[in-house]
Symmetry: D3
Subunit: 123 residues, 6 copies
């Protein structure tokens, strides 16, 4: 489920979360719980919510957040055309300062697409 | 088409754009043109694109941009539930620092809803 | 409890919060609840936490958030010297771009001090 | 020396600075002094430095800072074409989120130009 | 005095500062001097000032600044509970976009605590 | 034409741009084209425009953008004194949070200067 880079990213994320939880008190734990509730099915689909998370992360220029949402967008079955249009909205809103992040977003997306294609080929 | 506050906002925006255009050279005009192209129907619907514009504006905390996209979301027929879920994603991504903008976004939305309801009543 | 400007600010804030709550679903309500939990007595005093909230608001340049925490710092009995040193840390971290917000922070603080002094005089 | 709006802005700025200085300790005063030193003639001209200040203020989206540098650019004899190109660089770097600030920058610039023209006419 | 990662960070910082100083003129040197003055004992303790620096760095999402202040907080004898509450204020103010930085802050803090514990054990 | 670090940076940038272009639709391509138009000779020289791009990138704290403009400033024949004064304006506007980026900007500049000097020596 994903490319080698995506898997390494998820593994590190899990490990670091364990360190956070070692020190976390109740309010911090509640924030982490709330964060995951926000992307669940509701009036908006998880697909749209992940796009919202991705584009917010792009305009705020956080690489780790972008990676996370690129992987989640891939898992939700978003197409390359949808992802590209979402990122383009973010690019125009956030300006050329987002371009380095946009590049890395597409690089990870490209890896995830190739992984998917090679899996389809094997099957 | 909208509340008094929405109409005043749109009028001022048009006037200020005229001043910009008085000084604008070709690249600046191209940027303004590109900006409007980004929200057109494509792989993503204008509705989803306006939500992306709104939530990006919330996390970047730009009141005028939020107002503009709240009005556009209203015009695209987004429901209160959809708007609320989109803004909530932005709130969790961007933190409590976005709350004053969130308040003003809901205040304008509320006005637009009341206007809509009073019109339905009249009809 | 505060200057006329502080009282008007608090009144408007309450009104706008009512509009937010009219549309809020459970996760949004949880965020608002969590936000208020963060400033309670713990390993750090409310005084230190309010200073953290104030300086964060200064470097992120949110006038409403600054106003809110200036009022709360006043209520927590922070001295002018403590406030000034906190804001100065924020100024150096966040740069001259924070100066317009710094000016308005001191203007509100000054009003709150004068109100306090005139009350002491009356008593 | 400027339009009515520019003069009111400068007057308020001076008044608020007095309030800051009432509370300021030595490091804060040093920051204010350093801030003014940065725009003096050196390897770069004050004209270029004011443009740097203006474009930085645009991408960081601080209206008061933009106003201040628009007035200073006017005083340094920057032309409308130079100002427009500088602001356009900022627009592309910072994205459409800067547009509301760009509009207000041009509105103030336009006022300053009209004031200048009416003075030339009178003379 | 610190973990291997903290020591490497401080070494690189010193080296890079030497390169800056090779090019720095007087105003730039004054800024660096002012920056260090801000965290000295005053009406607020260095402990509180370092927390202010840390939380400002978290909401502005600068990893190097966070690392620097985590190390300084450790040197000032801040407890894990105090650090956690300070970072939690920053998390709620700055939102989930700060989480990757929060994770790395706790990872470095954890290293510094383990180093301290292993030293206590040796003694 | 640059130091080893500058050359590696440019190579990676070109590769990543190819991945972006694999997915890009027309509006995204237009943005990339517009971005490069902004720095061409006009009322302002490319030299001044690159400084504007550099200082904007510093205050927005984007390392890749800073690297790109440091290399471009070097190619445009900007002197060390001019670069230093430009970066100092950015430092005061953007605050100490920009210092880690300022350090890396000078480190790359220093490399480019040494490369230039060793080439002059060889010739």
């Amino acid at each position: 489920m994903g490319s080698p880079r995506a898997e390494q990213f998820s593994k590190e994320r899990t490990l670091l979360n364990e360190t956070v939880m070692k020190y976390a008190d109740l309010p911090l734990k509640r924030f982490f719980s709330l964060d995951s509730q926000m992307y669940r099915e509701g009036a908006l689909s998880p697909k749209v919510k992940e796009l919202l998370g991705l584009v917010s992360s792009l305009v705020l220029r956080c690489d780790d957040c972008i990676k996370y949402h690129v992987i989640r967008c891939h898992e939700e079955g978003i197409t390359s055309e949808e992802l590209e249009e979402g990122l383009s909205v973010g690019l125009v809103v956030g300006g050329s300062i987002t371009i380095p992040h946009l590049r890395r977003a597409f690089a990870l997306w490209d890896e995830l697409q190739e992984e998917k294609n090679s899996k389809s080929f094997e099957a």
